[in-house]
């Protein structure tokens, strides 16, 4: 059983999920900052 591949896959998948979510938060944040700036004009 070459289980080490599955171990790496699980750890990588975990951080990909968290990374993807943090990426969406960053995108939302920059969009909102932009909207706020436009509203302030």
């Amino acid at each position: 059983m070459n289980s080490i591949k599955f171990l790496y896959a699980a750890y990588i998948a975990t951080w990909l999920i968290h990374g993807f979510y943090l990426g969406t938060l960053l995108r939302r944040y920059s969009r909102l900052r932009q909207q706020k700036k436009e509203l302030g004009k």
């Binding site: 059983m1 070459n2 289980s3 080490i4 599955f6 171990l7 896959a9 699980a10 750890y11 998948a13 975990t14 999920i17 968290h18 979510y21 943090l22 938060l25 939302r28 944040y29 909102l32 900052r33 909207q35 706020k36 509203l39």
Partner: protein, 256 residues
């Protein structure tokens, strides 16, 4: 508070790195499963963190229903969203562990099925929050959150009360664990809990900014209507810094 965030972020990153090192190289190898058992150090802490966040969501939802507190509503949204992310990790890492150990990716076992149902309930909660404009949305979502939280003990205790393929609980129940493994497990849980706290903090600030922008847009649209000479009944009574709900007849976007 602004200074505390980067300091906590650095400490959490160090703790996560140390917990990863312990999980990969310090924790003893399990005799029958081998290295794949180490998935457990990410899978179980993610599940516990998701449960904790759904519990926070329940408390915040109950507070919102009792007091109509906008901060409680924001905390409910944040905890549900971050909880869904951790629950997704559980649902992804579980099958990756199951494939080499059970020989299958998925089975409709009670623990797996109730976890999937839990994830679906909270995803539907987030869909409701995202796409409904009604002023009743926070109230409906809070009620849905209470029903969703009922599934958490069902997920947790399912392996105690039903015959299941899933391993027995490591703390309490019929399972047992090497003390060194328990130490690494708890260390990883601490690291993931700190990480969840940080993400919730960032997401909470984002939620406040989102509401601020929505309120500003509502006001701007009302001012725009005024320029055109359109009179809207009761528009002057709209609070400047409104968080949900604006009033009984006004939606989040300020339309009737």
């Amino acid at each position: 508070m602004k200074r505390a965030f980067p300091i906590l972020a650095i400490l959490t990153a160090l703790l996560l790195a140390y917990a990863f090192y312990e999980a990969m190289w310090v924790a003893p190898m399990e005799r029958t499963m081998g290295d794949v058992q180490r998935i457990f150090y990410y899978h179980v802490p993610s599940a516990w963190t998701a449960f904790l966040l759904f519990f926070v969501n329940l408390i915040a939802s109950v507070i919102y229903l009792i007091r109509r507190n906008a901060k409680a509503d924001a905390i409910a949204v944040v905890s549900a969203e971050v909880g869904v992310v951790f629950c997704t990790v559980v649902l992804v890492t579980g099958p990756i562990w199951a494939r080499p150990v059970w020989g299958i990716w998925w089975t409709w076992d009670i623990r797996l099925t109730t976890t999937l149902v839990l994830w679906l309930i909270y995803v539907s909660y987030l869909v409701l929050r995202r796409f409904s404009d009604s002023s009743q949305t926070p109230k409906l979502a809070a009620v849905l959150a209470i029903f969703g939280a009922l599934d958490v003990p069902l997920v947790y205790f399912s392996i105690w009360f039903f015959r299941t393929q899933h391993p027995q609980p490591v703390i309490g129940g019929g399972g047992s664990i090497d003390p060194r493994m328990l130490h690494v497990l708890l260390l990883n849980w601490l690291a993931f809990s700190c990480f969840a706290l940080l993400v919730c903090w960032a997401r909470y600030r984002l939620e406040l900014l989102e509401r601020e922008v929505e309120d500003a847009q509502s006001l701007e649209s009302l001012v725009g209507d005024n320029r055109l000479g359109v009179k809207r009944p009761g528009e002057h009574s709209l609070p400047l810094k409104t968080n949900l709900p604006l009033d009984k007849n006004t939606s989040r976007t300020g339309t009737q």
